[in-house]
């Protein structure tokens, strides 16, 4: 890093702190990486950024056709219930998968230049949030056109999105750290994502579960995030302050653990491969 004027290997602060300071002093790098992510996505297809919405939109249509009769009286009601959860789940699954892949691919990059190793992951989370915003806006328009009651509850949407992003980043960093030593941890995670989605009330309403199972679902952080994200768009309500407190605590703890684990292992990355 060009900006490091004095470097003494004997006087390195703790890894987690060092990384934090490194990232904090490299705002221009984060911005450049976010711009890169957006540009690359834009270049990869003629649809451009709209591409982000294609996968959740397809899922939305297919799931609506298949499940609307099972879970809701009308297809349109079901689609409007389904869409917010699906978008948030898509954001979570995409962001974590991309970060884990990037850390694995970063080995080559980090061998030849010094950069904060969490920079790619943070930038991916930020561009993921941007995509999430881009997917949520048209949904809000559709909701408004469908005469769904919307109000100030919508203001909690960005808050929930950021909490989910913190959780995603922390989890991805932790798994990426394990994958440094055991590459199949990444595959294992991909495998677990599918059942995880099914134990999260994304495509079905939580209320259809037996009470005992419902209580178990509470231990799934994604169930909390999806619920909090969906409420303002479905019935113009917000999750309780207590629920937000729990969500913030889970997200912060996950991010902290992920950060500590990853920065502890990150020095080993250039040795692998």
């Amino acid at each position: 890093m060009l900006t490091a004027q004095e470097y003494d290997s004997a006087a390195r602060p703790g890894r987690a702190i060092e990384e934090l300071l490194d990232v904090a002093s490299n705002g221009q790098l984060l911005l450049a990486l976010v711009a890169r992510n957006v540009k690359v996505r834009y270049k990869r297809s003629v649809f451009g950024v709209a591409w982000t919405m294609v996968q959740p939109a397809t899922m939305l249509v297919v799931l609506t056709v298949i499940f609307s009769h099972a879970f809701a009286p009308r297809a349109s009601t079901y689609a409007l219930y389904l869409a917010p959860g699906l978008i948030l789940w898509h954001f979570f699954a995409q962001t974590t998968s991309i970060i884990i892949g990037e850390v694995a691919a970063g080995v080559e990059l980090w061998r030849r230049m010094r950069m904060p190793k969490t920079a790619l992951a943070i930038a991916t989370t930020c561009s993921g949030l941007l995509n999430l915003g881009l997917a949520t806006l048209p949904l809000l328009i559709v909701l408004a056109l469908a005469h769904v009651r919307l109000g100030v509850a919508l203001l909690t949407i960005p808050v929930t999105a950021i909490i989910t992003a913190m959780f995603a980043l922390g989890l991805a960093l932790a798994i990426a750290a394990v994958a440094i030593y055991f590459p199949d941890a990444a595959d294992l995670y991909q495998m677990l994502l599918i059942p995880w989605m099914f134990i999260t009330p994304v495509i079905y309403p939580r209320a259809i579960l037996p009470l005992r199972v419902q209580r178990l679902v509470t231990f799934n952080p994604m169930a909390l995030f999806v619920d909090a994200f969906r409420r303002p768009m479905v019935d113009n309500t917000v999750a309780s302050p207590a629920s937000f407190g729990i969500m913030i605590a889970i997200a912060a703890a996950t991010l902290l653990i992920g950060w500590l684990v990853f920065t502890r292992c990150a020095d080993d990355i250039p040795y692998r491969g």
Binding site: M1, L2, T3, A4, Q5, E6, Y7, D8, S9, A10, R12, N26, Q28, L29, L31, A32, L33, R36, K39, V40, K43, R44, L109, W110, R111, R112, M113, R114, M115, V178, F182, P183, D184, A185, L188, D267, D268, P270, Y271
Partner: protein, 253 residues
């Protein structure tokens, strides 16, 4: 002129290594996986490999120092230590000043992005702000000399063009210490002359250069001093002509 600066600042160490060791941990078994670890409770066999061992070295401000040695001697590891890509597993390294590393295809960041976009991104990695990069971008394009390809995606580049872009970008920043790994030997003859001239320019302006190359004659010509590494240890350090002669005599016999 060069020697004047070097002598003048002889006591001024910009890089200092004290008993530096780098130990790589390598996993021997193939197909290592979490699954195996859980299912078979099988312990990994890990081999340790000492890439560098007890290296003491002082690099002085403004000097050009070459590193020679056979493959696996630890030359690139030494550069990576100075670039802070690797950290020592023992000992201590201190670096004073900004470092611009030119190690392999430095500067290639994304194959879908154009040369221009990659240059901007590399600048960001090196700590340059966008407006600082904007001032340099035309001279980077000019020096790379790849014409319209500068605005084409990197996947369309030939290997030579990648090197040209990487070299032009990495050397566009004002660094106190320039690390060069084999970059001299790539590109066509014209570009080699051009890049050689640029490095000479850096040396004249007082930039400390650390050069790794297998072309020992070239090193003897351009370096003030040479470090000879063998299997991670320093065999000798000193005036370039003497070390290179000694090295050639030993490796021939």
């Amino acid at each position: 002129m060069t020697s004047l600066i070097a002598v003048d600042a002889a006591s001024d160490a910009v890089v200092r290594l004290d008993k530096v060791g780098v130990r790589y941990r390598m996993v021997i078994d193939k197909g290592l996986s979490l699954k195996e670890l859980i299912v078979r409770r099988h312990r990994r066999r890990i081999a340790e490999y000492e890439a560098l061992c007890g290296v003491d070295l002082e690099i002085r401000r403004g000097e050009t120092i070459g590193i020679i040695g056979s493959n696996g001697a630890g030359k690139t590891t030494l550069l990576r230590l100075i670039a802070r890509v690797l950290y020592p597993t023992s000992g201590r390294i201190r670096v004073r000043g900004t470092v611009a590393p030119l190690i392999d295809l430095f500067g290639v960041l994304h194959h879908e992005l154009t040369g221009r976009e990659n240059a901007y991104l590399t600048g960001a990695v090196l700590g340059l702000r966008r407006h600082e990069m904007r001032k340099r971008i035309e001279s980077i394009a000019d020096f790379a000399g790849i014409g319209d390809f500068f605005d084409a995606p990197l996947r369309t580049y030939s290997a030579g063009m990648m090197v040209r872009l990487a070299f032009a970008t990495a050397t566009s920043v004002d660094a106190d210490i320039l690390l060069i790994d084999e970059a001299l030997a790539v590109g066509d003859a014209a570009f080699q002359r051009k890049s050689g001239a640029r490095i000479d320019g850096f040396r004249r302006s007082g930039v400390t250069c650390v050069v790794v190359s297998h072309d020992v004659h070239r090193l003897a010509g351009m370096c003030d001093r040479v470090v000879w590494l063998d299997r991670g240890r320093v065999v000798d350090v000193g005036e370039s002509g003497r070390i290179v002669q000694h090295y050639l005599a030993t490796s021939a016999g």
